[in-house]
Symmetry: C2
Amino acid sequence: MHRSRPTIRDVAREAGVSHQTVSRVINESADVLPETRARVEAAIETLGFRPSAIARSMAHGRTNTLACIAPNLTDYTLASVIEGAEIEARQNGYFLLSSSANDPEAFRALVDELVGHRRVDGLIVINPYMDERYQAIPENFPVVFVGAKSHDKSICSVSLDDEKAAYDATKHLISIGHRQIALVTGPMEEDCSRDRSAGYARALDEAGIPVDLTMTIEGDWSATSGQDALLSLAEQGRLPSAIFAQNDRMALGVLHTARDMGLRVPEQLAVIGVDDMPLSSYFDPPLTTMHQDMPRIGLEATRMLLKVIDRLIEQCSQMKLSAQLIIRQSTCNKGGD
Amino acid sequence: MHRSRPTIRDVAREAGVSHQTVSRVINESADVLPETRARVEAAIETLGFRPSAIARSMAHGRTNTLACIAPNLTDYTLASVIEGAEIEARQNGYFLLSSSANDPEAFRALVDELVGHRRVDGLIVINPYMDERYQAIPENFPVVFVGAKSHDKSICSVSLDDEKAAYDATKHLISIGHRQIALVTGPMEEDCSRDRSAGYARALDEAGIPVDLTMTIEGDWSATSGQDALLSLAEQGRLPSAIFAQNDRMALGVLHTARDMGLRVPEQLAVIGVDDMPLSSYFDPPLTTMHQDMPRIGLEATRMLLKVIDRLIEQCSQMKLSAQLIIRQSTCNKGGD
DNA sequence: ATGAAAGCGCTAACAA
DNA sequence: TTGTTAGCGCTTTCAT
């Protein structure tokens, strides 16, 4: 099965033409007599010839492969971005290599392998500002950031409009009468958490509600940190009437603890999250949240990256997609779903 | 940035040696004078040379890339297998290309690209017996199946010991006094569902409980199908005292509907699932389940695949990993967590 | 419209 | 120990 694969020259011999003509045929070049083409195609058929992608890459100086680096591959939001990116990549004749990198060191090593050895034509980096990892990316290599708008204007990015999503979420709580609204954030070193906090503050401001910093608690995206947040608010005797958790997992932790504490949701405590993760409609009660279209983010990132690779992008774009409010019972009893 | 990358010959010129010597240095061949080596390494340094992975592949006839094909990349169990596989692959100097294929046609096209064009050295296929997709895999190409033991003895596979997991789950229910135990299966065309059904039946048999087929309902792994299952049992007036759902999502659907129906869990209805998906300890009540180590399955599959590629596997192995019972409150009030 | 020659960047086989 | 000569399988000139 190893040395048996026919090459372009075997086909040429079989068809009685030069290997170059075979190349023309498989590349659908116009300048081939229909008759010759037919002969070559027949030879390809009989020999079962398939062009080697590697040889092509070698000659072209292109791998037709992209890579997507994420903190991990199992988190639903990340996996969704990756899946969206993978599908769009394949649609355009590319493959997508997805890898996880926990820490800056792993990230650096990965980029070094991928870019240094020219294994891929471009890179999608999810959460590039996490632990300063973006610094490991070489300049002038095609890259698109996902999950945070790039600080560097020369790098493209696609992300959720975090500020607006948070603003809308907070506004929803305000619109149904809440004025004591606590905030559970993601790690504040992530842009995303900061932007969502800003949106929260803007909504409060607009409503003339002073921002009470003791009502803001930093979490780490985990359900456990959501639990801890509610517990610590309770301990301080500062129970709010509503909580905006910056993601659904933390919101779930809040719901869980509220149940343990005997708080009725939404009557005594309204809860809203961000993500619309699968099963969030199965939480108890079903969770009101800001839906974000992760596969779409992956798709747009890939499109952008392909443009960068083909150098047909004028100036770098920073795309922001909007989240959509999904009202369920964790904020309103009459809420749909 | 394109034609500027130095090659092995540039380095050779710079160091005043032949390009072959450079090759020897970067491949850590023994037969190079320390002095020469130093000169070459200095040249590599000054020029910033990095060997091209493609050229290497070209010369070796190896891509150092594996592919993993799954029905999708977002399902937690699948993503976990992939992540485990990816990490193990990198540990061994390989990259992992993961792709999703919904239907047999997409699967066929994907395999054709990957294998036909020799883009990868080996394949990991998750759920190979889904819609007969395994038929699209060419013979003699290195493959490992995940999620179902291979019917073909010449193909390696790694999977959960589904029969035993189901047996243990059912036995747990029996041991706490249940005798009317309903079963919610995955799609019966999947081996995994059939094996889990067999384990369920064996446990009942052993306990002298006749298997009542009206108590078995086929689902599709979704939470919704778990809901439907419980509803249909209720409609038939055949409410069991316990339900074994073949995965956690369906178990969650059951819990949800039980709540809607006013059934107390576990007093009036005990529920057990399989997977131990994240957040299953946050369900209401926390879900008793059979924990399976998906990353480990991915890791073992990769190891096996690498052995197959290197032809250092004597005869094909069919590895089965065991699941572990995690008792939470959905079956026992006193159950830990 | 087709073919011949050269080259992509590396490794392998042989020679010196 | 080092260098020379051929490839790996394809594409890209440039002839014809």
